[in-house]
């Protein structure tokens, strides 16, 4: 190439400019003296769980903007959100959490159990508190520095099974349930609950070959006909899917192709039960599917609904009717309350240090002092009880009717299940 040297020079110059530019801005923000409270927010906005992560990232940041502009921040201090996209990748989360700790964040939030599991060890070692809104039993048993904003996937399963046995099951004897689960904490939460509680509740689980082995699938699956064929041969009465929306859509589609649905009942965990499920699968296919979800649905008459709807329509109208938005908005409200408690009980100076003392303060004086905060009625009231890192224990079962998530059941309280007492837990 004749002008090879010129091309190389131009490329190097462009690369240097691109690389150096943000360093200037980074220097700039660090020099600001402002009195802010830094919070790290990790969402899987791109990647295999993007259908949940994107609206949740939007809601987290919208709520923080609402708190900063209309409520004047937390006791006058503005919240500075350090938002990172995890791409639903465990390796990235590990580096992001280390980076958040270095930046002086006071706590961090994640939007999925898989992200929190990747971050858990690093955070627990450094005593950096974390809040997760889609959590699994394995994340806080034994309880350390990771707290769950909502009940976990095991609680979903227990709530759905209770409802099924009480309202839907019309036969005699024990109904047969098959579990088709995602191969990560989202699915394993349901599996652990089923293994611990199936006999006590009175339901028979169709395991795959050996007890404790559920039917599993990957997050990027395109066809589950093969697993469903085997499940169909076992004659189940109900199928429980604990996964993310895209694979759940595939499974329900395959199940209706095989003729299994709507003959049997299908229940979902709260990770997959959102509007995206309806969009991806098609309205006619998912009609009648049940699912658990820990928040209210859109349009219910609770104090926090009005402001949230206003911000949704102003900033992200594409996320309308998506209940993940509610969950993440509630998460930011809970974070604000935690910081309010921490400032009241420990003082801003401790928090301004941004090191392990601040983290301890946030945890012991902030999170562990939560008592009955109602989060605008958007979810169950948030309180800390010692020995149980789930901050709220209330769940609800919904059903998809005519393309909308509706038909809510009563709020059920999920009692604490001591999974660690079982010897098969955590292996």
């Amino acid at each position: 190439m004749k002008n090879k040297k010129l091309v190389i020079m131009v490329i190097i110059c462009l690369a240097l400019i691109v690389a150096v530019l943000p360093l200037f801005s980074a220097c700039g923000t660090k020099a600001q003296p402002g009195q802010v409270l830094k919070v790290g927010i990790i969402t899987p906005t791109t990647g295999a769980a993007a259908e949940k992560g994107a609206p949740m990232g939007d809601a987290n940041l919208d709520a923080i903007e609402y708190i900063n502009t209309e409520l004047g921040g937390v006791d006058g201090y503005k919240i500075e959100a350090v938002w990172r996209d995890s791409n639903y990748d465990a390796a990235k989360v590990a580096t992001i959490v280390k980076n958040l700790m270095d930046e002086g964040c006071l706590l961090f939030t994640t939007s999925s159990s898989k992200e929190m599991q990747a971050a858990m060890e690093i955070a627990n070692r450094a005593e950096f508190p974390g809040l997760v809104c889609f959590n699994a039993p394995s994340l806080h048993r034994p309880p350390q520095h990771v707290y769950g904003q909502t009940p976990d996937y095991g609680d979903d399963w227990i709530a759905f099974t209770n409802l099924y046995l009480k309202n839907i099951w019309k036969g005699s004897g024990k109904p047969k349930m098959a579990l088709l689960l995602l191969s990560n904490p989202t699915g394993y939460g349901a599996r652990d609950a089923a293994r611990a509680y199936a006999d006590k509740l009175g339901i028979e689980i169709l395991w795959d070959g050996q007890v404790g082995k559920a039917f599993e699938h990957a997050a990027t699956t395109t066809s589950e006909t093969e697993a469903l064929t085997r499940i169909k041969a076992m004659n189940p009465d109900v199928l429980y899917i604990s996964s993310t929306p895209a694979p759940t859509a595939v499974i329900i589609k395959n199940a209706s192709e095989l003729g299994m649905y709507p003959k049997i009942t299908i229940g979902c965990g709260h990770a997959s039960f959102t509007k995206k499920l309806i969009d991806i699968a098609g309205v006619d296919i998912v009609d009648g599917v049940y699912g658990a979800f820990p928040t209210v649905m859109w349009g219910e008459n609770v104090p926090g609904m009005a402001k949230m709807t206003e911000y949704l329509q102003k900033k992200h109208p594409k996320d309308a009717d998506n209940m993940d938005y509610i969950t993440a908005w509630a998460q930011s409200l809970v974070v604000a309350e935690i910081l309010k408690n921490a400032i009241k009980n420990a003082g801003y100076d401790v928090l301004a240090k941004g090191n392990v003392d601040s983290w301890r303060a946030v945890e012991t004086k902030g999170i562990q002092k939560l008592k009955g905060y109602d989060v605008g009625g958007l979810q169950g009231a948030v309180s800390y009880t010692p020995g149980d890192n789930r901050l709220t224990k209330f769940n609800r079962i919904y059903q998809i009717v005519n393309g909308k998530i509706s038909n809510p059941s009563a709020w059920t309280e999920a009692s604490l299940v001591k999974y660690e007492e079982f010897d098969w837990f955590g292996k």
Binding site: M1, T45, T46, G47, A48, A49, A50, E51, A54, N87, S183, D208, G209, K213, A214, F215, E216, A218, T220, T221, T222, S223, T225, E226, A227, T229, R230, A233, P245, A246, A249, V250, E257, L258, G259, K276, D279, I280, A281, G282, D284, I285
Partner: protein, 294 residues
């Protein structure tokens, strides 16, 4: 027994999906001895472009599909012209790595333009399934099988009778002799890449109407390598035959072995087949054995 039939039918249909992707790979290998490891990403980007045309731009099907074909032609031309032509005589590590780099680049572009990563095409085929005995097969798979066979027949005829096809075979055999005969080798490469991208685009439309548009298409592309290895890198017949074989092995293996072993056995079977084939018969069932001299 009903399960067995269902497994067999699912296996053959999934295998034909792999075979369609493998045809694209064999096309490039047959004409330029370049291994296109970016095939999965090209399939994915074509699916996303189809989505753009159908959903974001709301164009009707009969306008959108020709646009997708044009896009695939353009993509193939761009890749060949800017990334592969400068590397014509380089050692094979460079060629493999450059396709890996292109694949990585395309993945980034996909996340850049469509960050929400998971979506579905509007329904292109009717929902009702076709019953074959007690087993069912959805219509999309039938379309896949049909189109795959049509593409295979077209490609074989093209390579045997059309002037450009014969030129491609000649280039794969001996590049310098072809240049001495006055055939423009660069045009041969361009054409083969453009056709391969078109095949990948067709495959992409079909596959994403089955399972939605997710990053799983890249893994499907990687599994298609096992079809290519088993069938022979430069053989279309091999791709068509090895595709259903691998699909059957996956389906039957997954169906019957998962109870006794671990769940997820289905995903690893294509890769184990690669290793076995490498050890026993490296050039595949229908591939040509390379004879090397010092």
């Amino acid at each position: 027994m009903a399960e067995l039939l269902q497994f067999i039918i699912t296996g053959i249909s999934v295998g034909m999906v792999y075979a369609l992707i493998a045809l694209g790979f064999a096309l490039i290998w047959k004409s330029s001895s370049v291994a296109n490891l970016a095939l999965g990403q090209i399939v994915l980007v074509s699916s996303w472009f189809t989505y753009s045309m159908l959903v974001q731009a709301k164009l009707p099907v009969y306008i959108a599909f020709p646009l997708v074909i044009l896009f695939a032609l353009f993509l193939g031309w761009v890749i060949e012209r800017f990334a592969l032509r400068p590397l014509i005589a380089q050692p094979i590590l460079s060629l493999i790595t450059v396709t890996l780099g292109i694949g990585y680049f395309i993945e980034g572009v996909i996340t850049f333009i469509w960050p929400w990563s998971v979506d579905a095409l509007p329904r292109l085929f009717p929902k009702e399934v076709v019953h074959i005995g007690p087993a069912v097969i959805s219509q999309e798979y039938l379309w896949v099988i049909g189109i795959c066979l049509i593409v295979f027949i077209l490609l074989t005829l093209f390579f045997r009778y059309h002037r450009m096809g014969i030129a491609m075979r000649a280039t794969a055999d001996d590049q310098m002799a072809v240049q001495a005969c006055g055939i423009p080798v660069t045009r041969v490469f361009s054409t083969s890449w453009m056709f391969a991208c078109v095949v990948a685009a067709i495959g992409g439309i079909l596959i994403s109407s089955i399972g939605g548009i997710t990053n799983g298409l890249v893994e499907t592309g990687l599994k298609a390598f096992s079809v290519v290895i088993l069938g022979g890198l430069d053989s279309f017949v091999g791709a068509i035959i090895a595709g259903p074989i691998i699909g059957l092995c996956e389906s039957l293996g997954g169906g019957y072995l998962t109870q006794f072993l671990w769940s997820g056995v289905r995903d690893i079977i294509p890769f184990i087949i690669i290793i076995i084939v490498m050890v026993i018969k490296p050039y595949g069932l229908f591939g040509e054995k390379r004879i090397e001299r010092i």
